[in-house]
Amino acid sequence: MEKMKKLRPSLNGIVLLAAFLGIVVIGTVASRNFLTIRNILSIFQQMPEMGIMAIGLTIVIITGGNDLSSGTTMGLCAVISGLCLTSGMPIALAVLVSLAAAVLCGCLNAVLVAVIGIPPMIATLGTQMFFYGAALVLSKGNSISNIPREFYFLGQNKIAGIPLQAIILVLLTVILAVVLKKRVFGKHLIAIGNNSKASAYSGVQTERVLFAAYIICSVLCCIAGNIQVSRVATARADMGYSFLMPCISAVVLGGTSIDGGIGGVGGTVVGVIIFAMISNIMNLAGISSFWQQLATGSILILVVVFNKITENHKLQRRKKESN
C-alpha cells in the first residue's frame, strides 16, 4: 500500500511500473523457468543483499550526499565478521563487532563530509579505497572460508518458504519508509537534501542528521555483508565492490534524485528487483555476465538523462506559467 501511494502521482513511478511489468513479460517470454516459484524465490534469496545496501544508500543520497564507499564497507564488515566467526567467537558477538566497525566507517564518512566539508563523492571515494585496503590487510588478500555452520541461518534459512533475508529487507524498508514519511528525522533528511543551508538556519542540526544518515548507510551495508557471508559461506574483501554501480542505478531508477531532496526507499527496492530480474533473465537465457555490466551502465545513464529532461521540461513550463 505504502509503495503504491508513493508511486501513483509521479511520472517516474509510472515509468518504473512499466519497466517492471515489461521486464516480467520479457522474462516470461524468454524463459519458461522465469515465472516459476522456485526461480522467484531464488531471486529473493540473492537480491536482498543489494536491496539492503541500496536502501541505505538512498538515505544518504536523499541528503544530497553519496556514499561511494558503501560497497567496500560491506566487504570490510564481511571480512571482520568472517574473521571473528572463524576465530571461534559467538555469532552474536561477531555480528556486533562487525556492526561496531560499520558505525566507525559511517562516522569517518560523516566527519569528512559534515564536519570538514569535503564533497561527499570525493570523501567517500577516498574512504572507498581505504576500507578496501583495510579489508585486504585484515584478510591478507585471501578469502575466508570455514564459516561455522551455525551462521548459515542468516542467508540460507527460510521462514514459511520465504528466505529470511527477504523478510529482513521488507522490515528494514518499511521502517525506513515510515521514518522518511512520518518522522521528524526523515523530514530533516529531505530538508537537508533540498537546501542544507536553509535547513541549518531553520534549526535543523545538519551535522547530527548527516552523521545518522551515513551511519545508517554503513550499518545496512554491514547487514548486507553478514547476509552474504552466511549465504555463500565465505568472506572476501571485494564482496560488495561490484554492488556500488547497480545500487546507485537502482536508487536513481527508483525515483530518488541524485541531487537530493526527493525520493524514497520503496522505489529503490523496486529498482533493485528490476536489476535482479534483468540479471536473472540473462542467466536463464545463458547470456554472459559481461552483458550485465553493459546493461547496468546503460540503464543508469538513460534513467539519469531521462529524469533530467523531464525535470527541465517541468522547470520550463513553470517559468512560462509564471511569465
Binding site: G133, L136, Q293, A295, K308
Partner: protein
C-alpha cells in the same frame, strides 16, 4: 601570493626527495638504473591519464571512467593489430580517434544535461568496460606484433614511453598556461558563475576538457599495450583512483580552480615511488590500497581546510 601557491608543489617534491633518499639508504637497489627505469616506465600510462585528470579536476569535475577508456582503447588497438590494417600509423590514429570518441561521449552527456560528472562517468565506466568484455569475451589478447611493442623501445638508454609522457606533459602544461582554453578551465573552476558572466562558454569548456582527457586515455592505452606486449580487457581495474590520487597529491584542488601539470607529475612519481618502495621494503602488496586511500583522505582534508581558512578571510556576500 604566487610563492604561497608554489609551496604546495615544493613541499610534495621535498617529501618525494626524502622518500627517495630514505629508500636508497634502506636498499641500494632502489637507486639503480633498472629500478628507476622500471618505476618510470610502469607509471607512464598513469601519468598520461593524470595529465588529463588535472584538467578535469581544475574545472571541479571528476572522471572515474579513465581506466575503462584506456582499456577500451587498448583492447581495440590490440584487435586492430591482429588485422591486416595494423601498422604504427593506424595504431596512433586509432588511439586518438577512439579516445576522442569515448571522451566526447562523456563530455557531451555531462555538458548537455548538466548531470554530476561522477554519475555519468560511473555509467560510461561500466559501458566502456562492458563493451570490450563482451567483444573479447574476457579473453586476453596475447603476443602483440613487433611493430606494436616497438613503441616502448629504449633508445640511447631512454625508454620511449617516458619520452611520450614528457611530450604530453609539455603540451598539457602549454594548453593550461598559454591558451584561452586553459584560462577558461581555471576561471570555471575558480568561480563558475563569474566565468559565465565573463563570457566563458561553460558547455564548450566542459566538452573539450573531457574530450582531451579521452584522447590522452586513448594514447595511454597504446602505451600500456606496447609496454605489456599483451592486453587484458578486464585489467587495470580501479586505476581511476590512482589517477585521481596522483593529481590530488600533486596539489590539484579537488574543488576546482587550482592545479598544475608539474604538480601532477610529482604526484605520479610519488605514487610510483610509494608502490615501488612497498615492494622494495617487502611490504605485502595489499597494503597499497590502504596507503593510497589514506593519502587521498589526508590530502583532500588539508585542501578543504585550507580553502575554508582562505574563504573565512575573505568578506563574503552570499546570494542564493
Amino acid at each position: 601570493m604566487k610563492k604561497l601557491l608554489e609551496r604546495r608543489e615544493t613541499s610534495v617534491f621535498l617529501i618525494l626527495a626524502v622518500l627517495c633518499i630514505g629508500l636508497t639508504i634502506y636498499s641500494p637497489t632502489f637507486f639503480s638504473y633498472t629500478n628507476i627505469k622500471n618505476v618510470l616506465v610502469s607509471n607512464t600510462a598513469l601519468g598520461i591519464m593524470a595529465a588529463g585528470m588535472t584538467f578535469i579536476l581544475i574545472t571541479a569535475g571528476i572522471d572515474v571512467s579513465v581506466a575503462s577508456q584506456m582499456m577500451f582503447s587498448a583492447t581495440w588497438l590490440a584487435l586492430l593489430s591482429e588485422t591486416p590494417f595494423g601498422n604504427p600509423v593506424t595504431l596512433v590514429l586509432a588511439a586518438i580517434l577512439i579516445g576522442f570518441v569515448t571522451g566526447a561521449i562523456n563530455g557531451f552527456l555531462i555538458s548537455r544535461f548538466d548531470i554530476h560528472p561522477i554519475i555519468i562517468t560511473l555509467g560510461t565506466n561500466s559501458i566502456y568496460r562492458g563493451i570490450i568484455l563482451v567483444m573479447t569475451n574476457g579473453r586476453w589478447l596475447m603476443n602483440l606484433p613487433k611493430y606494436f611493442t616497438a613503441f616502448s623501445k629504449t633508445v640511447f638508454g631512454i625508454p620511449l614511453p617516458v619520452v611520450y609522457a614528457v611530450l604530453i606533459f609539455l603540451v598539457s602544461a602549454w594548453l593550461l598556461k598559454h591558451t584561452y582554453f586553459g584560462r577558461s578551465i581555471y576561471a570555471m573552476g575558480g568561480n563558475r558563475e563569474a566565468a559565465r558572466y565573463a563570457g566563458v562558454n561553460l558547455k564548450k569548456t566542459i566538452f573539450f576538457t573531457y574530450t582531451y582527457t579521452g584522447v590522452l586515455c586513448g594514447l595511454a592505452g597504446l602505451v600500456l599495450d606496447s609496454i605489456l606486449g599483451n592486453c587484458q580487457p578486464s585489467g587495470s581495474n580501479g586505476w581511476e583512483m590512482n589517477v585521481i590520487a596522483a593529481a590530488v597529491i600533486g596539489g590539484t584542488n579537488i574543488l576546482g580552480g587550482y592545479g598544475t601539470i608539474g604538480g601532477t607529475v610529482i604526484g605520479v612519481l610519488m605514487m610510483g615511488v610509494i608502490e615501488n618502495g612497498l615492494v622494495v621494503a617487502h611490504v605485502p602488496t595489499y597494503w597499497q590500497k590502504l596507503v593510497y586511500g589514506l593519502i587521498i583522505i589526508v590530502t583532500v582534508t588539508i585542501d578543504v581546510l585550507r580553502k575554508k581558512k582562505a574563504d573565512s578571510k575573505k568578506q563574503m556576500i552570499e546570494i542564493d
